[in-house]
Symmetry: C2
Subunit: 343 residues, 2 copies
């Protein structure tokens, strides 16, 4: 299997990308195609003594900045390391793309250069977030600021397939974010989705989830519009940071604290590891006709390695094929309902 | 000063309400009017040996259930302890209402029985939430699921007055929740609000706040629609609960953990106290022509005492008067702009 990786995405590129690629080649036996400025990658590998065995470099002279307009990937930055990665995937030179660059540019680039799966209205960014009891998929996490009910139904279909195939969760619980458990709560969006999801047999719909119960792990696929999803993602990160600072203050600001920290080191480390979202790799871009993984911007080598593992599983489990056939079923069902006059 | 309190709101009523009232009378020198079933209140006070000095009971035979339709407070439950509290406030028998009952019924009851301040389009529930560096006001936290830009501008005016007068923050930083810092980010709501707020001289508008920075305390008044606000409030509670469980697991599940806990007891307690939102009292209902405080449903005696203190300050600092005159200024400005043809 060949994973294509954008060598210049993320805060620690290209070094962290090289480190992650090295580990992935050694541990998973995949081969890597890395895009980006060839000279820079070679000198970075040499400086850090990273062997390029199993890593092929494909030159791309520019990098799309995180603050560039996403659409610029098709024009001003069409020779960027990100655009080149999508181009190679589209040409069949590799099986999946991993990239830690700008989310907006990735969504636009993937949607336009790789196209969407038939019937999918919008590609969605779907990070996997740790919970008290495991992890959940959040979709959409920011790719589509405003959503229509039928988009959320499609998210449910795609998220369910992903969590079953990749995270090995049997019959994933799909729930819609809402401000109350009752069917009658929420905005027009939630009311509309409820009506459309409640008799779906394509996934296991468990109704509304109140945000209070998201961290407890009451659902495996948490569905909402991209604005709300982004608020959930970013607030979770912000509160995680706040707690991290508090733990630091408790354990590191005095002799007694340091001593206490030593006594519970294993527990604290275990908690930190459990809460570390990079353990799960990156966020898949679902709805695209080829596997694309968005790695976190602050990814280190291990995070890139995990994202590559996730890309490998994405290919191996044929998630795209599964989503394609589920989307076909959804389209059939909608058609039958229209003919029945029930919609 | 006389504070009216709903004797039957919250999970621990009437005992916790009585305990909080007793403490408030003794510590703050206020007098209390408590509404609810007189016999039950008297026997609860007797059983728990709580003196009723300074506490007057006004009989109300029923209680509005938390799952009742909010509008029912005007019909089926117009003799409830909550409705009676608003009635007494409206008749001038007291200066403020504190209640831990259903938020929806409170918003409806207060809006219809006490009316809104002139020009205010919607009353808003505005809890005060602890942050790393202090606390912030979140508005709207769920009273108005869908909002228009002009409503959010009014929230900014009211929240700014409250945080300045009650929390003693000079020139509170008012920010709009958004998925990016740039002016061009967000939904129609955020774009509209930005245009209306950015040259307001009625409060200190600092632009967008990304949810990641809310817990860090980057704004004193955090403005958004009631759906998003409720998500922020509830997710913060849920993550807080998750962290509480993790700390328990670290410190209480083994001998070493207990030992470590003893070493850092003061720090952990300090952190817990800092994060305890009941320290700040309840959530004011802003936009109503009289002071109304929503106490948390799970309030204990101390939480009720703090909510009563908050109600006292609300009255003492004439927050209603200040909001009324700010709203008048806002109306004048809007009128002038319309005449200038700039709107």
């Amino acid at each position: 299997m060949r994973i294509i990786i954008d060598g210049f995405g993320g805060d620690h590129a290209p070094k962290a990308v090289l480190e992650g690629s090295r580990m992935a080649v050694d541990e998973y036996g995949v081969s890597i195609i890395m895009t980006g400025d060839k000279e820079q990658i070679l000198s970075c590998a040499k400086e850090n003594n990273i062997s390029l065995d199993g890593i092929e470099i494909v030159h791309a002279p520019s990098v799309i900045p995180v603050d560039a307009h996403p659409q610029d990937i098709m024009t001003e930055y069409k020779d960027s390391s990100m655009a080149k990665a999508f181009e190679l995937l589209n040409e069949g030179k590799g099986d999946a793309v991993v990239c830690a660059g700008s989310t907006g540019a990735m969504v636009v680039g993937a949607s336009l250069m790789l196209r969407r799966i038939k019937g999918v209205r919008r590609a969605t960014l779907a990070p996997i977030i740790p919970s008290e009891t495991g992890c959940y998929m959040l979709m959409d996490a920011g790719a589509n600021v405003e959503c229509r009910p039928e988009m959320l139904v499609q998210f449910g279909v795609m998220g369910s397939v992903y969590m079953e195939k990749i995270m090995k969760i049997a019959s994933p619980r799909v729930a819609v974010v809402n401000i109350g458990a009752e069917e009658t709560k929420g905005r027009a969006l939630e009311l509309g989705v409820h009506a459309m999801m409640k008799d779906s047999d394509l996934f296991h719909f468990t109704g509304n989830i109140e945000p209070r119960y998201i961290p407890r792990g009451d659902a495996d696929v948490v569905i909402t519009d991209g604005f709300t999803g982004n608020v959930i993602l970013k607030l979770t990160e912000g509160l995680g940071k706040m707690i991290g600072n508090a733990l630091k203050d408790i354990f590191k600001s005095s002799f007694m604290g340091t001593l206490a920290g030593l006594l519970v080191l294993k527990k604290v480390k275990g908690f930190k590891k459990k809460m570390d979202y990079t353990e799960y790799g990156g966020a898949p871009l679902l709805g695209i006709s080829k596997p694309v993984i968005k790695a976190h911007g602050s990814s280190n080598g291990v995070a890139f390695k995990n994202a590559i593992r996730q890309a490998r599983d994405f290919v191996k489990m044929d998630v795209i094929g599964e989503i394609t056939s589920s989307m076909e079923q959804l389209r059939q069902q909608n058609k039958e309902r229209q003919n029945d006059g029930t919609v």
